[in-house]
Amino acid sequence: MTTPDADEALVRQAQADPEAFGVLYSKYLSLVYSYVYYRVSSIHDTEDLVARIFYQALAHLKDYRPKGLPFSAWLLRIAHNLVANWHRSQSRRRTFSLDDAFATADERVDVVAKAEAQEEQQVLRTVIADLSPRRQQLILLKYAEGMSNAQIGTIMGCSEGAVKALLHRTLLDLREALLAKGLRR
C-alpha cells in the first residue's frame, strides 16, 4: 500500500480521464481479489464479484472524496457491500468449494497430508465465516494480506490500538471455536 496522497493523485487523474483507472486497477486487483476469495471460497464467484466491484468503482469514481481515508478503504467498502449482498442472495451458506476439491484431486502426492490441510482450511474458513463482518475483514487484512495494524486501522477507520484490541479478542474467540471443532494442533 502507498500513502493516501499518492493515491489521491492517481484518483484525480482517473476522475479526469477514466482510461487512467487502469493504474488503480492494477494496483488494487490482488488486494480486492484476495479479500473476496476468502469470503466466498469459489474462484467463479470471486471473479464475478471482483469484476462487479471494479465496474462499480469506475462508475462512481467521480463521487469519491478522500476524506482522510485511502482509496483502498473505499474499494474494500464496495467489496464488503457486494459480498454481503452476495451472501444474502445465496439460499444456503457454502463453506466448502468445489474449486478446492478439484485443485487437490489432481495432485496425488502426499494425499493424506493434503487432505488434512484441506480439512483444516475448511474448518478455519467455517469459523471465520461465523465472525462478524468487521472481524472477518480484520483477519483477512491481517493474515491474508499481511498488513500492519496501522494500515488496517486506516482502512477500517479506527486507531491502531483499537485494531490491536479487536485482533486480540478475535484470536481468543477463534481459538475457542477451533477447539470446539476439534482442531487442537
Partner: protein
C-alpha cells in the same frame, strides 16, 4: 456495548503472530499458534493472468465509452450576463434618458409615416 474499542497490549496482536521476544506469556502461546495457523491457512491469493487481462480490457472499453458519452465539456455560463462593453459602467439615469429619447424619436417617425400615408 461495543467492546471493539477496548484497548489491549497483546504481543500477539502487536506482532501479527510472530513471537515478539524470548519471553512469551504462557496464556499467549495458544494465541500465537492460532495466529500462525491463520497465516499458514490464508496465503494471499492471486487472480489468474487471463482473468486480470480480460477484466482490464473490459474496464478500458467501458472507460472509453464513458468518455465518449460525456462528450465535450459544457461551458458554464456566469450567474449574471455581463453588460455590453460600451455600456459597462454607464450611469442608469443616462441610460434611461437615452432610451426615452430613442422611444420619442421612434414615435415621431411612426407619426410622420402615418401622416404621409394619409396625405
Amino acid at each position: 456495548m461495543n467492546t471493539d474499542s477496548f484497548q489491549s497490549t497483546s504481543p500477539v496482536a502487536d506482532s501479527g503472530g510472530e513471537p515478539p521476544s524470548q519471553t512469551v506469556d504462557e496464556d499467549l502461546a495458544p494465541l500465537l499458534a492460532t495466529a500462525r495457523r491463520l497465516k499458514r491457512t490464508l496465503p494471499p491469493v492471486q487472480p489468474s493472468p487471463d482473468f486480470e487481462e480480460e477484466l482490464r480490457a473490459e474496464l478500458l472499453t467501458t472507460a472509453r465509452a464513458r468518455r465518449h458519452a460525456a462528450g465535450p465539456r459544457l461551458v458554464v455560463e456566469p450567474d449574471t450576463w455581463p453588460l455590453l462593453p460600451p455600456l459597462n459602467g454607464t450611469s442608469p439615469v443616462l441610460l434611461f434618458s437615452v432610451g426615452l429619447a430613442l422611444l420619442a424619436l421612434g414615435l415621431a417617425l411612426v407619426h410622420n409615416l402615418t401622416k404621409r400615408q394619409r396625405s
